[in-house]
Point group: C2
Chain length 213, copies 2
Amino acid sequence: MAAAPRPGAVDKRRLILDAAITVFARQGFHHCRVSDVADEAGVAYGLVYHYFDSKEEMLNELFLERWQIMLDAIGEIDGRDELAPREKLHQVAGFIIDSYRHEPDLMKVIIVEVTRAANSFGRLHLEKIREAYAKIAQIVESARQDGTFKQDISAQFAAMCFYGAIEQLLSGWIFDLLPQTEEEFERAKTLVVEAICGGLEVSPSPTTPAVSG
Amino acid sequence: MAAAPRPGAVDKRRLILDAAITVFARQGFHHCRVSDVADEAGVAYGLVYHYFDSKEEMLNELFLERWQIMLDAIGEIDGRDELAPREKLHQVAGFIIDSYRHEPDLMKVIIVEVTRAANSFGRLHLEKIREAYAKIAQIVESARQDGTFKQDISAQFAAMCFYGAIEQLLSGWIFDLLPQTEEEFERAKTLVVEAICGGLEVSPSPTTPAVSG
DNA sequence: ATGCTCGTTGACTGACGAGTCAATCTGGCT
DNA sequence: AGCCAGATTGACTCGTCAGTCAACGAGCAT
């Protein structure tokens, strides 16, 4: 709709989109007004409608833009054949967790307003969301076929559990139920993979020796 | 507000609440009108406000009623000392999955509109939601202390992964991404516990022999 | 039969907020 | 200077609902 602005000029479209991230994250998509976004961007109300057809279009754009990056990242990780299955999943978890770490507001908006919004944008973007599950499932499926992962848990099922666990962690951070320090983010990457791949139960042949006291 | 109705008379309050479940599940809380609920219940618009102060109050009531049942159930399961940790988690998963199986609309409403709605009712009921995580964490914590579960994964973290995996499965059913047959529900109970407790990876000492063909 | 209470009705109000649009501004070009 | 295209402004429109309320009805007690 609008061409790239002259160098030196501010990209108002981007400005509005960034303001939308802040406002949607703070107040929620349904509980904010378009004027809130305009105010946050320091821009007149009408300008929002110069760049976007509707309030929804802003959210769609934010989601699609970011989700595609994630899909590409997962695809790339899956393609690195030198990585063991657990390592691939670790990379995936790492990517998602880092996304939250670097852009918590954007990830909050995507998860709360799209991914988990089964009655509105979730339905609209179902295909894109499903694509992510499928890509994760593909990683699991390879691991099943080379005998690393169990046969009796289907790849699709495993992918849902894995993704669900990660999203629940993000949710915990969003809700402020879990501590959000750099160390916690790093620990989470390893632990979520350990929990899902290795399981919560102590293995029959202990890698870690039994604890005393 | 209203006492129990005479025997033989219809409990309009319950009627409205049940209609709300149907309508909220079908259209979503934000995308339905109070008149939709009244119509679904076959009742005049104003009567809804005779029994409830607001649209939100209906949702709150639905959530609190059902969530408390779940909290009680988890507490009860945790108290049964004869059960192994994995068996306790199996019971918890079973309870939640059966809740969905028997009342899919109600569970959909609770998950979509409350549990996963970080910007509206999720925040309002955060304490109650957190209570569920804490109860699950307690089961895990006992298992860690008796050496069944790994030390290096904190109980709170494990509980989030476990609950997240289950909720993602319900989400998959709600979104129609996963098949919803009786067998699938039963399989899911076992598999989600197997995935989280046993892990996706093949154990060093195989309980299940290697698969051929 | 009269009056009381509580259940029930649905037309109405009032606020709110998404989206419109005519006017104004800006900067480049001739 | 005069013109044009696109950017920018914000007051206004217009539909939508949540919530109100005055009236009506049904059962019950005296």
